[in-house]
């Protein structure tokens, strides 16, 4: 299996007195089409892990490879390129733009690839169809339920067919039934070849994923399930 995301000996600490160690020598390899969940209490470093894995933050030490490319030494513009082409993000707060309808929100996922508007729109319609929102194309976020908003956000994350989708507490703002649907949807993305990494402190989410990584105090303390 090809590793789409390789984190090796990554440490990250934030300045302060005393400095806060968010990640301490973390190793993690994520393969194509893998479903993984990173569990841990708040403050365990899982959000920092997601940011480092998603090139939103640079590691203090260690190596991060995405699609086989070492990203630690890349320029800001090159990192942005990696995010635009290889990564998809799903956030707890959805981060949809209120004044854009579902199609345009999803099309934003392709904006920074420079593809023409018509192509972006066609891909967005297709992605919304894939998440079961083909009937909500022209709705604005304020006209959608929480679950539907998160589906729009997932469509935006996958519209560019990334190698990895990184989801940060995707069910944090949803009731448990809706949360379960969203997790099932995320897990289903792996059928398409996309690796899915969900970060959560919600144990219920873990059941839907194949691999469970447990973090505490910036370290991986257990890593169970198939890889």
């Amino acid at each position: 299996m090809t590793a789409v995301l390789e984190i090796a000996e990554v440490s990250k600490s934030y300045p302060g007195s005393p400095p806060v160690t968010a990640l301490a020598a973390v190793d993690l390899r994520i393969h194509q089409a893998e479903r993984a969940v990173v569990l841990g209490p708040s403050g365990s470093g899982k959000t920092t892990l997601l940011h480092v894995a998603g090139t939103l933050e640079r590691p203090g030490r260690g190596s991060v490879k995405i699609g086989g490319e070492e990203v630690s030494a890349m320029s800001d513009a090159e990192l942005s390129g990696v995010r635009a082409r290889r990564l998809g993000f799903v956030f707890q707060q959805f981060h949809l733009l209120d004044h854009l309808d579902a199609v345009h929100n999803v099309a934003l996922g392709l904006l920074y690839r420079g593809s023409p508007a018509r192509e972006r729109r066609a891909a967005a319609v297709e992605a919304l169809d894939r998440v079961g929102l083909g009937h909500r194309l022209g709705h604005r976020p304020s006209q959608l339920s929480g679950g539907e908003r998160q589906r729009v956000a997932i469509a935006r994350a996958v519209v560019g067919r990334p190698d990895v989708v990184l989801a940060d507490e995707p069910t944090g703002n949803l009731d448990s039934a809706t949360g379960a649907e969203i997790i099932a949807l995320l897990a289903g993305l792996a059928d398409d070849g996309t690796a899915v990494v969900v970060i959560t402190h919600d144990q219920a989410v873990a059941a839907a994923m194949d691999r469970r990584v447990l973090m505490r105090d910036g370290r991986i303390i257990s890593d169970q399930g198939p890889r």
């Binding site: 390129g81 733009l97 004044h99 854009l100 190698d163 398409d192």
Partner: protein, 412 residues
């Protein structure tokens, strides 16, 4: 999803160096517009300062350009009007020119039109005989020819001007100031004024004649009636003429000898249009004042836009984080906010130009002038607005670009 669709759209090639993100200009502008569309009222209010400043500047330039255009239209754009005057007699009243002066001048080939006026000495103009003669109001009585208005570029506000027929009868046309002094603002068959012991019927009232202000303060009668009833001997006191534009100077040099071959040194030749043109070209103090006020308003508007943009950057940390996560570079995020600032100021600039043009048109129409909005003023107005918008947007754009993506996402 089926395996087929996976194969049909390949993922990024592993191992190939990543291309940096691209953003089309149209998409950049659309992103900027999106920010404004989301907060329409705020956008409109923050563009208002620039709009007011640009409107003031465009209106001031437009109104002075309109006035100038009006004056130039009256001067005849060439400024080819010349006046011939016969000095003054011992009591200060205008001296006479020879009877031959006007027909002789008309024979100078480059002279396009010529008209003479004759000062009627000692005549007063009063509303009725009951008004004491001392209250003459400073209105002089001038004998005029029907071609006067054509040469001077004047026009009639009410009624008609003298013609070959009315020039023989006791009919009078009042200059603008004279009509005001006499309290006459309309022309009816019964409107009369009392001139040198007899009643004359008012047949017309003139608009102001900027080239010959003495016409404004005069009552004009025909040469024939001035001769028969007011004792004018037919000698003109002043002659107005227009010459072919490129021949004005040569004509001016031969005028004294043509007008009065016996005493050329007693003839004064002047060119009022050149004096007025110089005056029209000069900026008034008010123009400078209003331009200054406009500049201050634009500056304050720019500060307002900078302020709004800084607030916008603070409010939209989440959006900035999202865009970075979607692959926007620092530069693209900065450019988005700079574009927004430029669009805001362009909006203000365009609104200001339209307001200023509307004010100019309103003023011009109400004062009967041609409306002129100088294109250079419009270009400078929009240019200044864009410049101010760019300056105002630099700092907020830099702040947005500097924001670390993880931090932007965390704090929202």
């Amino acid at each position: 999803m089926s395996a087929k669709s996976v194969a049909s759209r390949p993922r990024a090639e592993p191992g190939r160096p990543p291309a940096t993100p691209r953003l089309r200009v149209a998409d950049l502008v659309a992103s900027g517009l999106l920010g404004l569309r989301a907060r329409k009222l705020r956008a409109a209010l923050s563009a208002l300062g620039i709009a007011i400043g640009i409107a003031a500047a465009v209106a001031v330039l437009g109104i002075s350009a309109s006035s100038r255009a009006n004056l130039l239209a009256q001067l005849g754009a060439e400024g080819n009007l010349l006046t011939v005057t016969a000095g003054q007699s011992y009591d200060g009243s205008p001296a006479e020119l020879p009877l031959t002066a006007e027909p002789m001048i008309a024979r100078i080939p480059p002279v396009e039109s010529v008209t003479a006026i004759g000062y009627v000495q000692g005549a007063t103009v009063r509303r009725t005989a009951a008004v004491p003669a001392i209250d003459s109001g400073g209105i002089s009585v001038l004998a005029a020819q029907p071609g006067l208005l054509g040469t001077l570029g004047g026009s009639v506000a009410r009624g008609t001007f003298l013609n070959a027929a009315t020039a023989r009868y006791p009919a009078v046309v009042l200059g603008a100031v004279a009509a005001q002094t006499l309290g006459i603002d309309r022309v009816t068959p019964g409107t009369q004024v009392y001139i040198a012991g007899q009643y004359f019927t008012v047949i017309g009232i003139l608009r102001p004649v900027p080239l010959a202000p003495q016409i404004d303060e005069a009552a004009l009668v025909g040469f024939p009636v001035a001769g028969s009833r007011l004792g004018l001997d037919g000698h003109p006191t002043q002659i107005y003429l227009r010459a072919t534009a490129d021949q004005v100077q040569p004509v001016a040099s031969v005028l004294p000898f043509t007008a009065n071959p016996a005493q050329p040194e007693a003839v004064q030749v002047s060119r009022p249009s050149s004096i007025l043109a110089a005056r029209a070209a000069a900026r008034t103090a008010y123009t400078g004042l209003f331009l200054g006020l406009g500049a201050v308003a634009v500056l304050v508007g720019g500060v307002g836009i900078a302020n709004i943009m800084v607030i916008s950057v603070l409010e939209r940390r989440g959006e900035i984080g999202l865009r970075r996560a979607l692959g926007a570079t620092r530069r693209q995020v900065g450019l988005q906010f700079l574009t927004e600032s430029l669009l805001l100021s362009a909006l203000g600039g365009v609104a200001g130009v339209l307001l200023g043009a509307a004010a100019t048109a309103g003023y011009a129409i109400s004062s009967g002038q041609p409306a002129v909005v100088p294109p250079a003023g419009v270009a400078v107005g929009i240019g200044v607005a864009l410049g101010v918008g760019a300056l105002a947007g630099v700092y907020p754009a830099a702040r947005a670009a500097r924001l670390a993506p993880a931090e932007a996402l965390r704090t929202s």
